[in-house]
Amino acid sequence: MAMTNGGGGADPKRPRRRSSGGKRRPVSVVGVLGELLITAGVFVLLFLGWQVWLNDIIEGAAQDKQAQQLSQTWKAGAAPAPPKAVGPGTPVVGVAPGNAQKFGILYVPRFGQTWERPIAQGVGVADVLDKIGVGHYPGSAMPGAVGNFAIAAHRHAYGGGFENLHMLHVGDHVYIGTKDGWYEYTFRDIEYVKPNQVNVLQPVPMEPGVAPVDRILTMTTCNPFFSTAERMIAFATFDTWYPYAEGAPPEIATTVDQVG
């Protein structure tokens, strides 16, 4: 990079072929300082590229991998005989595990046919959102339960599970897989709120004190990109569920089969 430059014409002794720099060795302080500053600038740019792009891909792949492993565990541990048809409409509701324990997989066909992320209990940044991907708000309902199943994930970098949350179309399906089966929700709308507006997590979002009747899925993430100024809240409502023994819903069957 800095191999040209240097001596130029000041080389009276003898013409050297590789005269770049020539005999001129006085290292100027300004020159070295300049090169150090350029190096520092390149380092910062590399870090940014790593942060928003390369590491995002690396961590996203690692989170996918965790979801696949979880899926394999369920497959291995599944009861061979189908249970007496529980039937849609009466979903089995699991019990929330301990903090940072994985219990579910999020499938969003709109995000891609191979897209999936593991869901763990808790919304700690370091232990859940960074390392696992999607976190379940403690105290909110479990998938399929009457009330509000509320989850959070990163919007940008760190594997950015909800990077494309704003791309959802009304009517898109969102699936939560657990060892009991797959819960199908339909995306309804998005709200943009202040970070302290916790009432989106209530059993009936933004309706304090109202007893829940519906089964709701709430997804929270940062908004806008690269900012924490607001939160984007995506709401979905429960449609039906597919018991594990009866196989995955058609819309995500290939994902579950091929990716896990």
């Binding site: 191999m3 290292v27 942060q51 940044v125 990163h154 302290n196 940062c222 924490t228």
Partner: protein, 53 residues
């Protein structure tokens, strides 16, 4: 600095270029696998993503 480095390296230009390429690759690897993850929490802490009081 870099000019001096180029002069110190042995061999014809393409040998120096190969040495430098390997060195750059090694430095990048060290950055990506150790230095960047280490400084990330200090310069760019992950945002909370959650709603909370």
């Amino acid at each position: 600095m870099y000019g001096a480095l180029w002069r110190v390296l042995p061999g014809p230009w393409w040998v120096r270029a190969i040495i430098l390429l390997i060195a750059v690759a090694a430095i990048l690897a060290v950055c990506v696998f150790w230095i960047f993850p280490w400084i990330q929490p200090y310069v760019s802490p992950p945002p909370p993503e959650t709603v909370s009081n």
